[in-house]
């Protein structure tokens, strides 16, 4: 079995019978994967190369320029962090742009949904908030834009971190100065012949990642809340069973909320619903996939059809009229697979085109109209569906999402104290942030689910985002009743407040919410984040974004377990710095553990040790 999800395994078999190749098949064809790549000791940075280091101690021990394995591994890792930070931050930039257009009345359909949050954030930027909301929003958007290319000083949201944490960053010289600047500087430093000290490169990697977590990602989260509303607990459904045999099934897949919010509106348009009926369907059934799915799940309760490894098999159901994609984690294989069915792959971002896709470019200023056109296109595709090829093998599972920091505080009765008290009393032993992707090198969703279960059994409250949260939702861990699977302490807290033991906090940029939450707890206790009984994990990670996330999480003081091996093992020095030396520098480090249960054990041990440190 390649997946934990019943329908995925059934659809994999269907694909096999139909001669359709999926990610698992392609992985098999890649194996064994390039050893130099796996170990991070291939350097393609200049054209004296490509160079490789012999991992078995023999020659060559240096690249043409003289770079050792340490320098090569550090440079490669630095560039992965930069790419990941760039992806999150460019997403953030789009949200700022949309906020500006909305405040100027230039983006029909978009408006300030959370004025209270607008005022809070604007006040952080020292903007006069006693004005019309659009004026405030305009100044805020312009203020945040400055954060991207800022010349001096530090980015605004970094001030939310506990004082002790900021002191560590200042001492190490890694306070992020500008969201784009750190990424650009990483590209500069890793150019041939610039930063030739592995530790110095890694330090800048920490800084670059912080410009993501406390910069680009946090901007994306906070400004999306202002534009689309701050999430509140919401009930929904998950897995491929959310697809309906008798409706026009539209999946939005990718990462940003700007387009998907408009698609949600369009899918409720009476004229379009009438058109769907005219075309023989009972209605329009919208679902989300990956993080754009999480965005509209969190704010609108739109059902989720799956996470990263669900995208190809969704087409195999034969019941999907259109997959509308924006950016990030969208497999290029989709258009090829879609050729075997009636499914339209509709690309919408000028940044992300797909050979063989239908491109209907999205622009915020005409968002509503374009969304309607896209939905209309999907509806018109419904009569082309071949009913004989339709297979929706499973029933959906109920779930709750929408746990923004604001929503958690509200659920706890207006303040964080009950959570802090529960931690102090030992009812909740600690908090774990389990985040990240899917990776066909791991059985789909298995590591996410096994680790999450083990953690809640041990009275650890689990905060999740992205593909992990969807995985946990599929096995019924995101409902209040799941507290029955938790230890007695966590169970009692969940029951008292009516919350699930695993809280869905949003998309991958929303890991910034977790930073805000742990900062608030650390501030309330007057300690640093690294003193808290908190641990992180990315059990099935695969993307460069995950590398940036993991790095800003440890740079923020949270011990983090990686469940797939990062391409760094070729340098013993870099490995030692990341899994050992980092502790002395930033009070947190990485561990690599492919077994999710052993990974959870590492987190539990860490949480126990931190409790001891706090005298709990």
């Amino acid at each position: 079995m390649k997946s934990m999800e019943k329908s995925v395994n059934i659809l994999i078999e269907k694909a096999e019978n139909e001669g359709i190749e999926l990610a698992w098949d392609r992985l098999k064809k890649q194996e064994p994967q390039c050893g130099f790549g796996l170990l991070g000791i291939c350097c393609r940075i200049c054209n004296m190369g490509p160079c490789r280091i012999n991992p078995f101690g023999d020659e060559p021990k240096k690249g043409v320029c003289g770079a050792t394995a340490d320098v090569i591994v550090a440079r490669n890792l630095g560039r992965m962090i930069a790419a990941g930070a760039a992806a999150h931050s460019d997403h953030g930039r789009d949200i700022v742009h949309t906020l500006l257009l909305a405040s100027q009345g230039k983006a029909r359909g978009y408006e300030i949904k959370d004025e209270a949050k607008l005022k809070v954030i604007a006040a952080e930027f020292k903007i006069d908030t006693n004005r019309d909301k659009n004026d405030v929003a305009k100044d805020l958007a312009k203020g945040v834009m400055q954060e991207f290319g800022m010349e001096k000083g530090e980015i605004q949201f970094i001030k939310r971190a506990p004082a002790k944490r900021r002191e560590i960053w200042e001492k190490l010289g890694i306070l992020p100065r500008g969201i784009d600047r750190e990424i650009v500087e990483m590209m500069h430093r890793t150019h041939i012949g610039v930063d030739n000290d592995y530790a110095n490169i890694i330090l800048h990697g920490l800084r670059t990642s912080l410009s993501d977590g406390w910069g680009g990602s946090m901007v994306a989260t906070e400004l999306s809340d202002i534009l689309f509303g701050t999430p509140k607990p919401v009930k929904s459904k998950v897995n491929l069973g959310v697809l309906k045999e008798d409706a026009v099934n539209i999946i939005v897949h990718g990462h940003e909320p700007t387009l998907s919010e408009m698609i949600v509106l369009a899918s409720k348009d009476p004229d379009l619903i009438a058109l769907a009926k005219k075309n023989g369907a009972k209605g329009i059934n919208l679902s989300g996939m990956c993080c754009t799915g999480n965005e509209i799940l969190m704010r609108k309760g739109v059902p989720v059809s799956g996470n990263f490894l669900n995208q190809e098999v969704a087409i195999i159901t034969g019941a999907v009229e259109a997959i509308i994609v924006d950016v990030q984690c969208i497999m290029p294989s989709l258009t090829e697979i879609a050729k075997c069915y009636h499914t339209d792959i509709i690309s919408t971002s000028p940044k992300a085109k797909f050979t063989g896709a239908l491109h209907m470019e999205f622009h915020e200023d005409k968002g509503e109209d374009i969304a309607k056109k896209i939905v209309k296109k999907a509806i018109e595709n419904f009569p082309k569906r071949n009913k004989e090829k339709v297979l929706i093998p499973d029933k959906p599972v109920e779930m709750y999402a929408g746990f923004s920091v604001e929503a958690i505080v509200e659920a706890l009765g207006g303040k964080l104290d009950p959570l802090i008290d529960a931690i102090k009393a030992g009812k909740i032993k600690g908090i774990a942030a389990v985040v990240g992707c899917n990776n066909p090198k791991v059985k789909h969703d298995q590591s996410h689910v096994e680790m999450t279960k083990k953690l809640i059994e041990n009275d650890i409250l689990v905060l999740e985002t992205g593909c992990v949260a969807i995985a946990a939702a599929k096995v019924g861990l995101l409902v209040p009743e799941a507290s029955e699977k938790a230890g007695n302490g966590l169970k009692s807290v969940c029951k008292a407040f009516g919350i699930p033991p695993v809280l869905h906090m949003g998309s991958c940029v929303d890991i910034s919410r977790i930073l805000v939450a742990v900062s608030a707890i650390a501030n309330a206790l007057g300690v640093d984040i690294s003193d808290l009984p908190v641990a992180g994990a990315a059990p099935e990670w695969m993307s460069e974004k995950a590398v940036s996330i993991g790095t800003y999480v440890i740079a923020s003081g949270v011990f983090t377990v990686l469940g797939t091996v990062p391409p760094v093992l070729g340098s013993a020095e870099v490995v030692d710095l990341l899994t050992n030396g980092a502790e002395g520098l930033i009070g947190a480090k990485f561990a690599v553990e492919v077994d999710p249960i052993k990974g959870a054990d590492l987190m539990i041990d860490h949480i126990k040790a931190k409790r001891k440190g706090l005298g709990l």
């Binding site: 064994p32 390039c34 050893g35 796996l38 170990l39 078995f56 093992l569």
Partner: protein, 173 residues
Amino acid sequence: MKGIFIDIEKCIGCKSCEIYCAVSHSASKQIFSAIFEDPLPAERVKVESYNAFSIPIQCRHCEEAPCVDACPSGALSKETETGIVAMDQGRCIGCWMCAMVCPFGAIIPKMDSKVIIKCDRCPDLDEPACVNACPTNALLFGELSEVMKKSRKKAAQITISAIKKEISIGGLI
């Protein structure tokens, strides 16, 4: 008789054969742990290049193996059943005579253990690790007669196509 054959047109010099040869001769058989073993595992195949081309070179397990003739201690022998030139580590005295006479330089003296190492064709695997690891199928493992048959078929296709002009001349190059 089975052997490892090389399609020189397909070798891109990626050295994946070297990496997975060493991994397959490690204690853990796993790349992420093999690189931390003591002693470090070593590869028995080396990719060499000439002009713009590269070629993996390992023991050819010669029918008339000069290394076997040169070995004074009886450490090297030609196995009749498998056809491989086998090495008995206990008997090797590290005189490097075999390395000296090997026309391919495929015998590797190991100074730390004072014995030679060479391709053993991965007796525990269905297919040698180097062949399995080659991403372009430049390395083939199979019966000599089958490989020769394949080569003849290819030659026939090229020759006939050229004469009959069924495909463009570009297909030849």
